[in-house]
Subunit: 358 residues, 4 copies
């Protein structure tokens, strides 16, 4: 009897269901022994507090195209897993016990950076763990691509396209704030896809004067409007010099709900121009996965299923140099994949005339 537990952890994104369906299809079609599938509810919480349900084929029917996660999800920060909960429960021990109580052969965890650290910890504790790289941020180390990313690029690009018609009709400076957590993959790609004029990324701290120069330069060349794509983690050159603590303090003290409003204010102060801010927000993580993500997540799921059937554990399934690979969890955990300011794509964007404020 093969017993597999599933959980989805952290912020939800597109193609979580597609990836789980992939694993399950492989088991259904190829497993020669009987098997049972367990779904833990709301991420690691379900594993900690033994909230789960048995899953059958019908749970996975029609979910290839469905957004969100049929299991529910939640955030249990890695740094809290060694702290007892409010009732004194040792969370790591609880997860281990529930794993053994259900006689699981392995746990399939779909999550991002923090969640993978916890998965690695469970692997080190002796559990059989396989993870799949879930995040719209595409910031997971060890894989060239994560599922959710391309779907989010599609949504963010559509939003900027829509702002484009209004910006050009009204002749305005428009800021669109795009997700991506502390890395710039999503705003970079959505910005390039939508013909943004300026893109501000966490990895390339911006000089406000260069941003203003770029706006005024467009003016001089007769452009009626400027579209600035601002990563939610964008940072100015001055702020980049602050310690993490100081910067967090500064952010918390701001009267603005996000960095984009701060920047809009500054541009207005320095140039007298009206600047509009749009923050598409959570829509970027929702809705049906795009075809790219459906294929990609299915493939990742298939490879995870293969590893389970072979009994190989302790890996994240990733994609590197056009090959599906298994990456040891300890190599992945705690590392971030950021945009290299010297990467080809940045050089190309600059050749195309896109300004990064550096």
């Amino acid at each position: 009897m093969l017993r597999i537990g599933f959980l989805t952890s952290g912020g939800d994104c597109q193609a979580l269901n597609a990836a789980m369906r992939g694993v399950v299809k492989v088991i259904q079609n190829n497993c020669k022994e009987p098997y049972e599938l367990y779904g833990f509810e709301d991420g690691y919480k379900g594993l900690i507090y033994s909230k789960f349900r048995m899953l059958t084929g019908s749970d996975f029917s029609g979910i290839l195209t469905r957004g969100g996660t049929i299991l529910g999800t939640s955030r249990v920060p890695f740094k809290t897993i060694d702290q007892p909960d409010e009732n004194g429960l040792n969370k790591v021990e609880a997860m281990k016990q529930n794993y053994y109580k259900l006689q699981l052969n392995c746990l399939v965890m779909l999550g991002g950076n923090g969640s993978t650290k916890t998965a690695n910890r469970l692997s080190e504790e002796g559990l059989n763990v396989i993870t799949l790289p879930k995040t719209i941020d595409n910031d997971l180390w060890g894989t060239d691509m994560t599922f959710g990313f391309q779907s989010a690029v599609d949504i963010a690009t559509t939003a900027i396209d829509q702002i484009h018609t209004t910006a050009s009709s009204h002749g305005r400076v428009f800021i669109v704030e795009i997700m991506g957590h502390k890395v710039g993959w999503l705003p970079l790609n959505a910005g390039m896809a939508s013909g943004a004029d300026i893109i501000l990324l966490p990895e390339i701290p911006y000089d406000i004067d260069k941003v203003i120069d770029a706006i005024e330069d467009r003016d001089k060349r007769g452009s009626r409007f400027t579209i600035i794509v601002v990563a939610e983690g964008a940072i100015s050159k001055e702020d980049a010099k602050l310690s993490k603590k100081e910067y967090a303090k500064k952010l918390a003290a701001s009267k603005h709900p996000s960095v984009s409003y701060e920047l809009a204010d500054l541009i207005t102060k320095k140039t007298g121009r009206e600047v509009r801010v749009t923050v598409p927000g959570h829509v970027q993580r929702g809705g049906a996965p795009c075809p790219y993500d459906r294929v990609f997540a299915s493939r990742l799921g298939a490879e995870a299923g293969k590893l389970i059937l072979k009994g190989e554990f302790g890996y994240m399934v990733g994609y590197r140099n056009r090959e599906m690979v298994k990456v040891p969890l300890k190599e992945v955990a705690g590392k971030l994949k950021t945009v290299d300011p010297k990467a080809d794509i940045i050089k190309e964007a600059k050749l195309l005339g896109i300004k990064f404020g550096d």
Copy 2:
């Protein structure tokens, strides 16, 4: 020689270009005398300051599906048109002079409420004016429908759909703030289309306790999440008792960027629940018009073209009880079409279980 001036006024929206193309196609295909088309730039500003360009067939090629307005637009509030500009210019006189200087036979104005008041004023001053009902708010009196509305419903619905998957995956209360200015057509339709649980409209002031009851009632019935669609003009029962001035003052003093954040705060305070707010904002007005709007705007344009050929002026072209109609501008100007809280659609929504906080 027939000389027609065009201008688009107020916030841009989808199908402005489609509507103009409609007028022009009728002229091109049916006008027996020579004609000239003039496009005033950036709305009434172009007419006031004589900024215009001659338009030819190629200007209208391929614009049926293009968002925004090829003429540019701006807001010139009705209440300011009788105030001299910073150089002492009389705006109304300037518009009349430019109209006569170009020997125009008529002016086609595409705009919403305020812009139509100005158009009516120009009509009263003796100019030949025809207007087309442009607004995503669908709040123009005298027509059952305005172009831009259905496109905005599509975009707003997609946004709420996308929030839906995240809300259900995380088990959260989510507020999505939908445009519509001071009326509820857009949030009502987008909310019904996306299966929202609670919809708060300007026309139905809400009781915060009823909103919270509705959330808790869903909880009791086992729902993990609640989606609240909040009109940008939504107002609480208490605030509805304030005078316009007092309410404006209260809004201005708020630390929140919009009513949705205020409401989210209140729900959190009263229930301890985490509430997320998403404000899709300007994206609702941008991008390509939906097929419905393309047909509708083309038909409005065609009827406007017909009126021009017949020499009938002083009308807004509208749609009433499934018929294209010409509505005298003086009947339209200054009136608002709001959602009747006793309308069938509201009764149906209530039967379906949607709560309005009343």
Copy 3:
């Protein structure tokens, strides 16, 4: 105890699930007595052969946006219902018996023309029946609009838009064949929405020479390409003179899979031009309903629910002059709502320069 049976009949379309959900939501939220919901499988077949399942709340969760029908559907032509089946079963009697055996209070039937005739028959036989107007063709008499129609317009328009870029790049004559059965609502609206040059409808038999004139006229004016939208039921002036039988015979004898290929051949023969044909086909009926249809189907469902609670039967719920109405089934059955060649929309389309081949 209230017992309601549901069935969906004929070709599937968008918003069938949304409409059923509407009825059920009203019952769930407003019915004061206990109730049971029965879903007959695959249309009238399920009622004839007693194939059904009990439906619960979870069957209707999340289906507002789901295409197709959760009950399955099939075609049981009206003219066959009085013929015994292959085992000698009297179909009408079987439906009555199964209705009474389950002690149903009413039957909710979602279907188009033929299906509504059968519903009317059952109503005449004494069953309590309510129907909802389902069809992408919008050809049901007694209602200005049917659900599925606007979703199909959206899909058909997108298809023609996509052909547009290729037609203009290659400078070709392109025919796109659009559904709509024997009426022209769908090709007319999709054609106008996508800027088609020529639209051939069943209601306006075309003269091939006028079609060719229109193509050549575009050539002379410098257009590189021509887009012809052909209704699947389009017919030439000569063929329109044939009896139904003769025409059916002629169609059956054709070597072409549809009228569009026939037309393409003819144009090529007469002009030497290369003509490409695209037949989007069944995609027009599939996928998620558009926001318009979701609201509209929900409203229809709500009104049906209201009628059930009031105990009023024998009606189709429709929409006329912007009001929800109940239309006696006997008034609806057997009548078709066609495009009037003298309707305003046709006149407007002609003013816009669109040719209909007449």
Copy 4:
């Protein structure tokens, strides 16, 4: 003075304009000498017959998202370029003469397999040529990806999704014929993205009995329907044994417009089942490019611009192992990149339960 000629050749596809815009943006922003841009009309025809126009910045404004090609395109088969035209013109010589007459520094050609062979020939004749890999088929040798491909996957997937709801509602076998010329990349990816049950590719000749087994196996497991994605170049095991000539003859003699209808007939004959065929056709090549293609085409264009500025010619710009590369034209010309039946993605698809008829 730098003089650059542009032409787009072969079937149009998405992102042709985006790619040209990329080249031009690089020149505009980085070229230190004066430059002139020439656009040849309708592909190689424009170069042969000296049909061109000067291009300015405004030609490239707003075309990032526009489908088709602003230059027009046509097919001039490689094997015909050495045959004189109907007036005895030597085409290769004519192209060379026009190139020299305009004093071009280089020719940028956007095209697929055949067009690249012609480009290579011109390069061998001494012209400076750079090509960009255009095709929805993704069959160009020397690059992992071509622009147009992902946009076509998106459209094809949507079509199959739409068929899915109808297939499941009616319980039918549905065939959807997907483009891709003689290779299977597009049907493979669209099929996996849409959860197709059976995918028939040119690279994996199918055994009709295995296809029927797969349909019947689904039946036995309780599935109401089967979706078969058939590549336009799909071929049976028997037909794969024929010589190219024999097979072409057989195809020409068929009464069916395409392989899918042939297959449908065969399935119906062997199983008695009703099978529906949908052929989305040219829509797969049309409409706006998806965000992935916009970024990718812009990057390819940027690299081409870089090569032009450096004076490096005789290359196709490609993408290999996540790096932009220049590939000598002579290495590319005449080679095809097909789906390897033993590739990981095929193995994964099989693990997921997808049948290929082998």
